[in-house]
Symmetry: C2
Subunit: 293 residues, 2 copies
Amino acid sequence: VSDGDVGGFDGGDRDFSPAEHAELALLLEVAGTPKPGNVDREHDLGDLRFEHFLAGSVGSRRGLQLAEEDAPVGEAFERAIAGMRQQCGGNTQFGCLLLLVPLVTAVSTVEGDLTAEAVTEVVESTTVADAANFYRAFEHVDVAVGDPPADAGELDVRRGAGAIPTLEEREMTLLDVMELSAERDGNAREWTGGFRRTFDAAESILADDGPVLDRAARAFLDLLAEEPDTLVATQHGTEVAAEVSRLADEARGDPTEVAKLSDALVAEGVNPGTTADITAAALFVALERGVPV
Amino acid sequence: VSDGDVGGFDGGDRDFSPAEHAELALLLEVAGTPKPGNVDREHDLGDLRFEHFLAGSVGSRRGLQLAEEDAPVGEAFERAIAGMRQQCGGNTQFGCLLLLVPLVTAVSTVEGDLTAEAVTEVVESTTVADAANFYRAFEHVDVAVGDPPADAGELDVRRGAGAIPTLEEREMTLLDVMELSAERDGNAREWTGGFRRTFDAAESILADDGPVLDRAARAFLDLLAEEPDTLVATQHGTEVAAEVSRLADEARGDPTEVAKLSDALVAEGVNPGTTADITAAALFVALERGVPV
């Protein structure tokens, strides 16, 4: 039933809004396979299954829509997380949404193209209220986080809304909060560093060829090979994270080796989730820039 | 990262709107595997790939949202098809949406529970304008249809909007149009027969256990075993359609046999697409009735 010619649709000129592209990015990210150690089209991880990511994507759209309508970043994010969490699998896309919300906001509110400068303008405009809503979002989910720095006890995200008085007292914006954890969290580092890896990976996806799900899987593996995954570092230590990146570098380009790595990571419970988050953000930028689907 | 206890979420009490449930039904339908002869989590069909169904699901949401807001059925359907078609794969979910739009409308506009009576009330309220928008929707896609009855030349769906003067002259509603093809099209038969198979399959999905994607695959196979697929009949003849149902009946319950059937149907280019459409509609009803995800 293929009819590529009807309407002359060539795949790149989608009439999709930023919120639609962001939801599609979530779906393409989870479907892309193989993404060693993550849920993908061919892998579930125990009770965390593919359908939880499908429902999480659908539920996230409310918050993404708010971002498109120029709601404050924190409000849109908290709403996206509440919607994402309407399924039994748990935290499926917290990190993805932390990157996607400011990117959607940038498309909708900043004049000109979606660039590092545009999204930097968005994150630099965040407020204490955005920070408060970010902490509120933690009350919807259990997110794997490392031990905070000794001086951040009052701002441990596990305090949820309990941290808000401290945020207000110290006048911390959401960007300030991200700066607190930029050293140990790859998503926070995107916020503080102009979304460098997101935009670089988006350009790789655009320059690649073949079906978009294959491009997504290759982008994931390249990102993993290039820098240790910070979720793996949080859960298993920096040495394991470095070793996973070394193995990814060796395996990339060889489907048999990638499949072996995938089996090994699943068996060890090693989940390079931050790399998947950045892959989703990169897919969003690539979709906005016209990658065909 | 599973946290099934956070917020006490048990999977059935989703805070999802009818349009969100309908989009999720489209996604669960395409992900459910094995669904012999159809695109699913493990199968593409040549150039018609999984990602086309993901994009089709996201794009459909605009029309489903209109249905939720009580727009006329034909307008919501035409909008859903236009959105679905923003990808290169071609017609991915035309039949699914023909069933989902009146079901969403029924949830939103008819008092009480979603029942056969409620959706029958919706389809019986359709107008000539709804019929006209149904014909307009064919201009967005190539849909596999059989030769129309000899007396329906002026109303051949392949005429697209060109059929509208005839519709108006004969004062035909969208339900009248469905009655024209109920004999040879299983989706039209749902419209004219109180969505009997949709509601029966929804109850089977609810009574089943295990992950929802496994339930979806079993529901598909049961539907295929019970009645010949009308898309297969249109494309390959009624004898082939009957044989496919006989094979599905023999294979169900035996994963090895189901996998063999799947390979055979893909090799022969046999696509039981109408059965997939009814599976999507049944998933929607099951989601509305609280099936856990």
